[in-house]
């Protein structure tokens, strides 16, 4: 009580600052007094970011997302998310007098009546295609360099969720115009939902407000597409960026770079100009693409009717691997006791998220195998983590094999191949190709590790041939400079975990759990003999260099 009364007598806190030098400082002081911006800016205005071309991949994701939001808001001003029927009567003559939905008619109006509407529609669609592609490539960069390791596992998951939601928002987006292609995509989705045991028909009826296609699906998809999913994505994106700032960026190994520092240039001015400028570069390129390359010409497809379809009906590229799963799966059906279990559709439906989840949980699996609880801020070169790199390459190959399955009709017509053969290839290839790619990639990495070792120990080939007094020709090798030597030898190499002895010191048999054994096996597979090349040691180097440079 007494302390409260004394503090009440004191004057409220007031600024004791000197008078600001100019109007700008005065304005900043005013904002600081209310938002505390100086403390925030102190840590961030000159924040250091390392420089490497691969670090801009994430920026492309961010910028395309912003472009999608900007153009998407514009499109909502003209798009009518309604299945109400109208007779089309506009400047696209071939469709005049045809019964279409308001969603389709308003998409045509955006494309033909609204000046610049077609451009914005195409920028929106192109940006979405680039957005998902950029997320993929960004994720691969993070994967192959080990940037997902502690403390960044949670940010990896945020990123993965953004990718997953990006898939679905893209799908919902191209479903909205109610054209023949998008309706076919929705029909496919309905068929997939129907394959879910027990509840499939109920989910379908609730989603469509009755029988397919009904009149509810477009307005419902619209709300999910423009509000629900982008809202969640925006939240995840902000969290993703906050964590990037909080963790500080990873960096490549090199002279002067350690786990305890980050070397680069400051946010203000260099990265404000570079990153800010890069936004305009990305936007400019996508705008130019949209000027010259048509994407999703819905007027050519015509309005949706459930009994009509066009050939080469394809989803956008990112759904291509799911399309591949559904196309190459054998048509297994179990019919018994008055029920049908449609495995031919249900299994692909389950594999779709599983393929993605496999990559999402990888950081936790690798963390468990290595047992490494330290923070990692120095990136791995892909060759120095052969098994991880090989697993990533195998995953990509599976993705690509399935993608080619999703485009089997186009491959067949463009390359004059048998559609059936492509399908059989994908069925077998989904199992075989990733294994082959795994082994090739691993050996490739090991070969590159050997080459690094060779360079460190014997120097680089100079191309100068020297004749020795006794007539032998040798190529002169030049020692690598100190910074190169350091960079090539600074990576860490794990040793495989060993199981404890089968009997303890008293001769009593130890119980070793299955998990412990599995972990030891995996660890051996990652770091055991032949699965990584021991990096050169200083002793080896000294021994060789003391021999006057020739070998």
């Amino acid at each position: 009580m007494s302390s409260a009364s004394t503090s009440a007598k004191q004057a409220a806190p007031a600024s004791t600052r000197d008078k600001p030098a100019n109007k700008a400082e005065a304005a900043a002081d005013w904002v600081d007094g209310r938002l505390g911006i100086y403390s925030l800016a102190k840590a961030n205005l000159r924040k250091i970011f390392p420089d490497h071309w691969s670090f801009m991949l994430g920026e492309i994701c961010l910028y395309t997302f912003i472009i999608i939001i900007l153009t998407g808001v514009y499109l909502t001003l003209f798009f009518k998310p309604s299945m109400g029927e109208v007779i089309y009567n506009g400047s696209y003559a071939p469709l005049n007098g045809i019964r279409v939905s308001e969603a389709y008619a308003s998409t045509l109006d955006i494309s033909f009546e609204v000046r610049g509407g077609l451009l914005i529609r195409q920028i929106h669609h192109w940006a979405a295609i680039v957005f998902v592609a950029a997320m993929f490539v960004h994720m691969m960069r993070v994967f192959f360099t080990g940037a997902f390791r502690k403390p960044r596992e949670i940010n990896w998951l945020f990123g993965f969720l953004l990718l997953f939601l990006g898939f679905f928002d893209g799908f919902l987006g191209y479903s909205l115009p109610d054209d023949l292609l998008s309706g076919t995509g929705i029909r496919f989705m309905e068929g997939a939902i129907l394959a879910v045991p027990l509840v499939g028909t109920y989910i379908s009826f609730f989603l469509f407000g009755g029988e397919f296609p009904g009149t509810d699906i477009v307005p419902r998809f619209f709300t999910i597409h423009v509000l629900l999913i982008p809202g969640i994505m925006l939240g995840l994106l902000v969290a993703h960026l906050i964590l990037v700032f909080y963790h500080k960026h990873t960096q490549w190994a090199g002279p002067g770079k350690t786990e305890k520092n980050v070397v680069g240039m400051p946010l203000m001015p260099v990265y404000m100009a570079k990153a800010g400028g890069f936004f305009f570069l990305v936007f400019g390129i996508i705008a130019a693409m949209s000027a010259i390359a048509s994407v999703n010409p819905v007027w050519a497809y015509g309005p949706y009717r459930p009994d009509q379809v066009s050939t080469d009906a394809q989803p956008d590229w990112y759904m291509g691997f799911a399309e591949g799963l559904i196309r190459v799966m054998p048509g297994w059906e179990i019919r018994a006791w008055g029920h049908t279990l449609n495995l031919g559709v249900f299994i692909p439906l389950m594999l779709f998220p599983l393929v993605l989840a496999a990559i999402a949980v990888y950081p936790f699996i690798e963390g468990w195998i290595t047992g490494d609880k330290r923070e990692h801020h120095i990136l791995d070169r892909p060759r120095n983590a052969p098994v991880r790199t090989a697993l990533g390459a195998a995953w990509i190959s599976l993705y690509l094999v399935l993608l080619s399955g999703g485009g089997n009709d186009l491959i067949a017509t463009h390359f004059h191949l048998s559609l059936n053969d492509i399908t059989y290839f994908v069925r077998i290839g989904s199992f075989v190709v990733p294994v082959v790619v795994f082994f090739i990639t691993k050996r490739w990495c090991l070969g590159l590790q050997r080459r690094d070792k060779e360079k460190v120990l014997h120097g680089r080939e100079t191309g100068v041939i020297k004749r020795l007094p006794h007539g032998e020709f040798v190529e002169v090798h030049a020692q690598l400079p100190q910074d190169k030597l350091h960079t090539l030898t600074s990576h860490e190499q794990y040793e495989p975990v060993e199981l404890p002895a089968e009997v303890d010191e008293n001769g009593v048999a130890r119980k070793v759990g299955v998990l412990t054994k599995t972990r030891a096996k995996l660890s051996e597979g990652y770091f055991g003999d032949g699965n990584q090349i021991p990096k050169p040691t200083a002793e080896e180097h000294k021994e060789i260099t003391s021999g006057h440079g020739h070998h």
Partner: protein, 360 residues
Amino acid sequence: MSDDKLPVAHDAAEGHGEAAVAENPFADPGLPPHEPRRTDIDERAAKRAERQVSLLFLVSMLATVGFIASYVSIDSDKIVYIFPLGHISALNFALGMTLGVALFCIGAGAVHWARTLMSDVELPAERHAIEADDETRADVIQQFKTGAAESGFGRRKMIRNTMIGSMALVPLSGVMLLRDLGPLPEKKLDRTDWNEATSDAPIRLVNMNTNEPMKPEDIVVGSLTFAKPGPSASRPAGLQESDEDFQEAIAKDALMLIRIQPNDIKDADSRDLGFEGVLAYSKICTHVGCPISLYEQQTHHALCPCHQSTFDLSDGARVIFGPAGHPLPQLKITTDASGYLVATGGFKHPVGPSFWERSE
């Protein structure tokens, strides 16, 4: 989880400086000295870079003017030929290119500015451990324990349990609210408009394109014709595009009519369901519901363009390739007194993709 197998962390004393290098050839030599760029030392080069940046910004301004000029001056239906793009919308091309150039040049200018004129000295910044120190950790845990103890959450079990119960129940309201999203499936997926047909009140097959009833002689061998239901008690004018539920109805009613020489029909049941070699199959693929549209008249194979399920229409629409799980349902057809093709009942099996309640 033994830590003894982890690689040894770099010794802080290991790196940095000449002395360390003498002992360890792989030691970190430290940050290399900054190498100045041409624009750092040559004022003329710097001036040139400055002009280049300004030029890019100037081009951007001109492009924006061009955008506005295009917007007001080019008709939206004007088509121009531009090599190698072909015939494209003049307005879309002009707006896209001017906007693209306006944006790109801002970006190019900013990046060029950063690369040539802003400092490119690399600076190190310290990282700090993400983990809190032990003192902070202990402090927070203590605070939490104090808060938990003051709430009495652990001690007053009745409050705790009822609260958990109420929190667990309250989302049920939200789930209930979803019930009216749509009606229950009931038997809707098992029935089509053809189910209304009986031998006393058959439904004619109507050509999808001409809207006319068809006679068997209208269907020639090797052709593929699409059909929909004609007049019935509930649809006196037959299924029409203007019907409120046209889309839902056609998604199930659509028929493919083909004619095969009766001797070429391998499946006897299928032959009996047809009329003089005219067979009526559901057009909706049994895989995920795309309309089947590609027909090879010599092999009698029908192919779904979506996922390439292939059906042998001469053999009861058996699946011969692709992901479909069962044959296309066939509609029994005959002719009425006037000689028009009619259906006298519905499909024996539900049309379209499989679902859990589907029985066969």
